[in-house]
C-alpha cells in the first residue's frame, strides 16, 4: 500500500506569510487575516505530494507539518 500525505498548519505558529498558498493553492486556504490553514482534512491528493513538501520547506515560521500516513 502506498503512503498517503496529509498537511497541517499549526495556527499558533502561522504568521500569514502565505508562502504555502502561493506554492500549493490546492492544499491551503487563507482566512480573512491572511493566515493559513489546510484545505479540508489536509489529505494531499495524488500528484500534489511535491507541492506539499515545497510548502513545508518554504514556510518561514516552520508552521507546516507533512504527515505520512
Amino acid at each position: 500500500m502506498t503512503e498517503r500525505l496529509r498537511v497541517h498548519v499549526d495556527p499558533d505558529k502561522c504568521q500569514g506569510h502565505a508562502r504555502c498558498k502561493a506554492l500549493a493553492p490546492e492544499l491551503f486556504e487563507l482566512d480573512e487575516y491572511g493566515n493559513a490553514h489546510e484545505a479540508g482534512d489536509g489529505i494531499v491528493p495524488p500528484g500534489l505530494e511535491d507541492k506539499a513538501w515545497l510548502a513545508k520547506s518554504n514556510c518561514p515560521e516552520i508552521a507546516i507539518d507533512v504527515i505520512e500516513e
Binding site: A22, E32, Y33, S57, N58, C59, E61, I62
Partner: protein
C-alpha cells in the same frame, strides 16, 4: 551640555566585531563581507555606539529574538544615536508589544491579503507602464529615481486614497525619518510633525465625506468593545503604512533590477520563463533583503549562548540572517530557482510585515512589465550606483543603458 539636535559624528570603523556601525560608509556600500566576519566571530556581537547595541549575526539568533517578545520590546524599532521618548500609539502595530499588538495587527491585515492585492494589480501594471513610457525613448535612465521609487509610493497612495501626485512629499518625509533622522533628531521630528498634519487634514475631510479607501477603513474600524480607534491610533497606523510601504519596496525593486542588469543569464532565463518570476522574487528578497529592524532589550537574557543586557538596542538584521550559510546553501549566490527558501525578508514571528503580499505583488509586476518592454539593459559605466544608508538598504541611484544599442 551638548545640543540634542546636533548630529553625532561617527568615526570610521576599524574593528567591526567590537565596534560595528550600520551607518558606516563601508557597510552601506558592501555589507556582505562584514556580516560574514561578524558571524564567524560570534552569533551575537555588540557595539558601544548608539548608546549600546547588539546584533545577532545568525539566522537562528535572529529567529530567537524575533520570537521573544518578553525580553525584546518593539517600542523602539530603529537604532539611532538618540533614544527619543517613546510616544504612545507611535505606529501601531509595528511599535506595539503583546497584548496590545494582536488587535492592532488584525485591524490592518484584511486590506493586505493576497486576494486584496490581486484587485490592485491592474492599477500597478498601468503605473509601471506609465513610468516606462516616461523614459524608454531616452535610451538611458536612473531606474531608482524614475522607476523603482514611484511604484510603491503610488501604490500606497492609491490604497490610502491620497493623491498619487503627492509622491515626492512622502518620499522626502521618509528620507528625513529613516536616513537623516538616525543622526539628527530635529529632521525626524520635523517630518513626523508634517506627516501628522497632512494626515489629520485627510481624516477631517473624511469625517464629513467618507471615502472607499484605507483611511476611511481605519476611521470606521471598531475595537472589541465596539469603540472607534482614537485619532492618534489612526494617525500612527497611517504613518506606519506610508513609511513602511515605500522605501522598502523601492529598495527591493531597485536591488532586483540592479542584479538583473549585471546578470544577463538570469535576465534571459526570466524572459524565457516568466512563470519563474515569483520564485526569483523570493530569492532576490533573500539575497538583497532591504529591511533591518530593531528591538530594545527590556530584560536580561541569553541568545545563542550570549548574554544580552537590558537597556541596549538590538539591530535585528534580517538581511544578515538571510546570508547565513548554515541556513541557506550557497548563501552568497543568487540562485533564481532556489526551491527551499525560508527567508526572513519580511521578518519572523508576530511582527511579520503587514504589507508582504503588497510588496511581493509590486515586485512581480514591476519585474514582469520591465522585462516585457526592456529585455536588454546594463549598468551605465559612466554613472555610479549609490545605496541608501541605515535601516533600509537599496539603490538610490541606478544608472542604466537601455536597449540593444548599449
Amino acid at each position: 551640555m551638548s545640543d540634542v539636535n546636533q548630529p553625532v559624528a561617527h568615526p570610521p570603523v576599524t574593528d567591526w566585531i567590537n565596534d560595528f556601525d550600520h551607518t558606516d560608509p563601508q557597510w552601506t556600500e558592501d555589507p556582505f563581507p562584514i556580516w560574514d566576519e561578524l558571524r564567524a566571530a560570534s552569533p551575537v556581537v555588540h557595539t558601544e555606539r548608539f548608546l549600546g547595541c547588539y546584533m545577532p549575526t545568525t539566522y537562528e539568533a535572529v529567529r530567537e529574538i524575533a520570537n521573544d517578545t518578553e525580553h525584546f520590546s518593539s517600542r523602539r524599532i530603529i537604532v539611532r544615536d538618540v533614544r527619543p521618548e517613546v510616544a504612545r500609539n507611535a505606529a501601531p502595530p509595528i511599535t506595539s508589544d503583546p497584548p496590545v499588538h494582536k488587535p492592532a495587527k488584525q485591524l490592518l491585515l484584511p486590506p493586505f491579503t493576497p486576494d486584496a492585492m490581486k484587485k490592485l494589480e491592474p492599477r500597478m501594471r498601468a503605473i509601471c507602464n506609465e513610468l516606462i513610457d516616461g523614459f524608454l525613448a531616452d535610451g538611458k535612465v536612473d531606474a531608482a529615481a524614475r522607476y523603482s521609487k514611484y511604484i510603491p509610493v503610488r501604490a500606497i497612495a492609491h490604497m490610502l486614497g491620497i493623491p498619487e501626485s503627492d509622491s515626492d512629499l512622502f518620499i522626502n518625509w521618509i528620507h528625513m525619518i529613516l536616513e537623516l533622522g538616525i543622526k539628527d533628531e530635529s529632521k525626524l521630528l520635523e517630518a513626523v510633525h508634517e506627516m501628522s498634519a497632512y494626515f489629520s487634514a485627510h481624516i477631517e475631510e473624511r469625517k464629513n465625506k467618507p471615502t472607499d479607501d484605507l483611511i476611511s477603513y481605519l476611521m470606521n474600524a471598531r475595537d472589541k468593545e465596539g469603540h472607534p480607534l482614537e485619532d492618534s491610533h489612526v494617525l500612527g497606523s497611517l504613518r506606519l503604512l506610508l513609511i513602511a510601504g515605500i522605501d522598502t519596496t523601492w529598495s527591493a525593486i531597485g536591488s532586483s533590477l540592479w542584479h538583473l542588469a549585471k546578470t544577463p543569464a538570469d535576465r534571459e532565463r526570466l524572459i524565457a520563463e516568466p512563470a519563474l518570476i515569483p520564485t526569483a522574487v523570493e530569492e532576490l528578497l533573500r539575497a538583497y533583503s532591504p529591511v533591518t529592524m530593531a528591538r530594545e532589550v527590556v530584560k536580561e537574557t541569553t541568545i545563542s549562548g550570549c548574554p544580552v543586557k537590558a537597556g541596549n538596542m538590538v539591530l535585528l538584521s534580517f538581511p544578515a540572517a538571510n546570508r547565513d550559510p548554515k541556513m541557506f546553501p550557497d548563501a552568497d549566490k543568487v540562485v533564481i530557482d532556489r526551491r527551499e527558501n525560508r527567508h526572513a525578508a519580511f521578518g519572523l514571528g508576530i511582527h511579520r510585515c503587514v504589507g508582504s503580499n503588497l510588496a511581493r505583488m509590486e515586485m512581480q509586476v514591476a519585474l514582469e512589465e520591465w522585462l516585457k518592454r526592456i529585455p536588454d539593459f546594463a549598468l551605465d559605466p559612466a554613472g555610479t550606483v549609490t545605496w541608501s544608508q541605515g535601516t533600509v538598504r537599496g539603490p538610490r541611484q541606478l544608472p542604466f543603458l537601455l536597449g540593444k544599442a548599449m
